[in-house]
Chain length 125, copies 2
DNA sequence: TAGATTCTCCTACACATGTAGGAGGTCGCC
DNA sequence: GGCGACCTCCTACATGTGTAGGAGAATCTA
């Protein structure tokens, strides 16, 4: 059970914990934009499922409410998402790059930054 | 119903059509690696569902078998996948780039290629 | 301390996805 | 012209995901 798959809503729950730290179910629920905020018990169900997946855990109790914190890190979750996507492309990053460029979502500055990062990591080898 | 959501298995069906052109259900099924090849009717069900989503269509009939061809292009499907992923990252491509570099899935050649492509598209503007 | 509030835990349900079997139609061949 | 192979279409079912209600326990407040 290393990297369990997290659904979209599960990721939003985790996002709340990643940005705000340990939270109660109520606080997680309130982290959603008011317009499309799920019911309290909906958030609770997802939290329970994430707990079963060991993506988060109960850390303490305040009053009668449990406080939950992330077990899986944001970068680990993101890595899994990216790797899964790449898997669908036969493991090649190139189609991804092409799309990002064509849709203007990748700037020259991003590329330069990536280039620099790559040079640095190559130097370390 | 512009870009319907395609599941993983649905994408594999589409992949067969994208690489081989119009195919029968049998041919699509045989496009799967023999070790993890779904049952004929499994492929058929997915084809029917893709048809309902207008992702592919029947083009003709050979004997009593229908021949199917892609309606959604590979690049359109890939774009949707990438955009959806990016949406989970708040629309920023940078975490994606970082991960690709750290995991060694982005080579210097890829970067140079991207840089050249970006220069070209900038020139056209 | 009793009522209001808030939580927990359990249960339910609809839709999507992956998987496949069975009934019956159609074809090609002997 | 009949038979086996192959195809279509319908149906079913388990699991995952999003959604939420209800019963009852714990806590707060007047």
């Amino acid at each position: 059970m290393p990297q369990p798959k997290l659904s979209k809503l599960e990721l939003k729950i985790m996002a709340a914990l990643w940005t705000k730290g340990a939270l109660s179910v109520r606080e997680i629920q309130e982290h959603f934009p008011a317009r499309r905020r799920p019911a309290y018990t909906t958030v609770q169900t997802m939290v329970y499922r994430l707990e079963a997946k060991n993506a988060l855990r109960r850390t303490k109790k305040i009053g009668n409410a449990h406080i939950f914190d992330a077990v899986i890190s944001q970068s680990a979750a993101q890595s899994k998402l990216i790797d899964d996507l790449l898997g669908l492309f036969g493991g090649r990053a190139q189609p991804l790059m092409s799309h990002l460029i064509e849709s203007g979502q990748l700037t020259l500055a991003d590329i330069e930054e990536a280039r620099a990062a790559l040079r640095d990591s190559a130097k370390k080898e």
